[in-house]
Subunit: 384 residues, 2 copies
């Protein structure tokens, strides 16, 4: 058994998720148990600093260098805090797998210094994490896949394969964060049969709409309570479904560029006179329907889905879960916790398990998903 | 035996030095043989790009990310070229130790994001080097020492200790690059007895002066030929020796900030009416005398120096070597090649040997030199 801490910070740069995971075995024989989980927000001014640096066109090399060390300290402190709170000694931890904070990701090569280059950059210095915790740290998981011609993302599908592949069931893992993404895992599949891609907005537009309509009083529609009292507005839904992203073939990735504030404001203009309940019902239906369409079109060509395993904040949206179940009557729609995967901790757990694979020198990218030329071992190892 | 390639690029960002080194053992039992060496200049526009990005106050995160990958490709190509030219198969190489290109180094903590932070940043993505060569790559040697409260530099003294420590001789290793630095290695010393610091200008002011006086026709005074035909100008030498750097106690580091073009121009104004030969004789004497003074004051308090082992471009300056020998009559002034260390390849060799230490999980910083709180294993390992 290895005790591994997975660290994750998403593109919204809210803070650090830390999951302490006991891992047995490796590859398809991986078994795990989560011991502790903490979500440690960045200090407010640090978050502002990160966001302002990311959005600024001009930044000094000094700021990038210092930010790399600063984020390293914040990640290390998330480890220290999580272990202290849950009475876990640092000595009992064998390894840290740290995703870091993505500050740049460009998987389509662009011209730079006389050649076509793709690149990705995660900050959060691994040496700072290893130094402050005394624990060997694996960081920079995405760079090698990009160096091998891949998109460097998504990386979680490999973990879905290890944890959710079933000899008898066709499964789809659905993560509903700001963006919704899925991994299709046909029964008994080989790694190369995985499909994984973004389906469109997850909570992003719902969160933005409720914040705008409540003038910032509400940050999200808890459990989908508002949406459950509303009615879908057919004309608005029709307008929303014309977004070209849904027609694109996978692999495909979405973000704020497609479904952020600006697009949500445009959508709200389509529903100018509607009650907020109806707006949310419509946006929730958009998420559910685009997931459904993606599954039907691209998931498991060979048969019906037996289980849809939902994680991310959206798994706590009861009305969304109901809606998905209604749209997929032959499928069991379930929270990932039923399979022992805390839906909020899933990504942090995934980086603990990816670190375990790296430690065993096993490749853990999925070339059929990222487009890499071949399997590669992910990450860089900073010794304890 | 391990075959290791050391990769180095200095602050002048001229290009990549690649040394292929066969290494036996580790620690004080390290033995090595250099098999091949190549100095591969950066393409002209790449160098301009690097320098312009470094000097620019405003750079985008995208440019830093792409530059990290671009420099990784250039380092990888230096490996490929060196191996091809010298008929070394990539398969025969076990490991790469890559210093990368320093783009920021601030070892004195400054206030950032609400805390005092030191940081250092080397670019040249290790995952790109590992991917393109198929060889496990150790990179980012300086970050861990900085994370442990050290200055992150110099790192070569540890290698001087491994290769030059003698049971019977007091030795000083002197590297004369743009800046001159030395490592004092008393006979039979422990690691904690090492002293290492910059002594002042090496070739930097001589190179700048000859370039200015020849209007760019000459880049340096080959073998010190011009200086050997000149006479020291006492008033100018006196003025030069008033620079406060020489009075500071070690540890201390110098750079272009102290002894670059601007200071050289000020020095040339002191010697306005002098022949170029006399100017160079004076500047060469400055280098030699400040090395001498540093040795007398700070090197080996317990006795005379038996051997001064010179490397770097300055080792090829015959007149400088003569001058050092004249000033140190009791010491044998020798080229490092006499001890099997190619003076031009020394730093690249050093990073091969540091990679070997990391591979064996041995700490390789020198806390008495960098000020780190404790010994640490250097670098990050990207698997093959």
């Amino acid at each position: 058994m290895k005790r591994i801490i997975g660290l994750m910070s998403g593109t919204s740069a809210d803070g650090v998720d830390a999951a302490v995971v006991d891992v047995w075995g490796k590859g398809l024989s991986t078994r795990f148990r989560m011991i502790a989980f903490e979500s440690v927000p960045y200090p407010k001014r640090t978050r502002q600093l990160i966001l302002s640096l990311l959005n600024a066109r001009g930044i000094s090399v000094a700021e990038i260098s210092q930010l790399n060390f600063l984020i390293g300290h914040l990640f290390a402190e998330a480890v220290l805090r999580c272990c202290r709170r849950h009475h876990i000694t640092l000595k009992s931890v064998d390894l840290i797998g740290s995703h870091g904070q993505t500050v740049y990701h460009q998987s389509v090569p662009s011209f730079f210094g006389g050649r076509a280059l793709a690149s990705t950059l995660q900050l959060g210095e691994g040496a700072v994490i290893a130094e402050r915790t005394g624990i060997a740290t694996i960081s920079d998981f995405r760079v090698r896949d990009v160096a091998a011609g891949g998109t460097g993302a998504p990386l979680v599908p490999y973990v879905d394969y290890l944890l959710l592949r079933s000899p008898s069931k066709n499964r789809v893992a659905l993560n509903v964060g700001g963006i919704a993404n899925l991994t299709s895992i046909p029964r008994n599949c080989r790694l190369a049969e995985l499909r994984a891609f973004d389906t469109g907005p997850g909570n992003m537009m719902m969160d933005a709409a409720v914040a705008i309509r409540s003038r910032g009083k509400l940050k999200f529609d808890r459990h989908g309570a508002l949406a459950s009292r509303g009615r879908v507005i057919p004309s608005a839904l029709e307008w929303l479904l014309t977004h070209p992203f849904y027609r694109r073939r996978p692999p495909k990735a979405a973000g704020r560029e497609q479904f952020g504030i600006e697009y949500t404001e445009a959508a709200l203009r389509q529903m100018r006179f509607a009650r907020v309940e109806d707006v949310l019902a419509t946006l929730l239906d958009l998420t559910a329907r685009t997931v459904l369409a993606a599954i039907k079109k691209y998931a498991v060509p060979s048969g019906p889905i037996d289980e849809l395993i939902v994680s991310g904040g959206g798994a706590r949206n009861r009305f969304l879960m109901q809606r998905l179940q209604f749209l997929l009557p032959e499928t069991r729609v379930m929270n990932s916790s039923e399979l022992g995967i805390d839906p909020d901790a899933k990504e942090a757990i995934a980086f603990a398990i990816l670190a375990n694979e790296t430690w065993h020198q096993d490749p853990a990218n999925v070339p059929s998903v990222t487009g890499a030329r071949h399997p590669v071992i992910l990450g860089k190892i900073t010794p304890a």
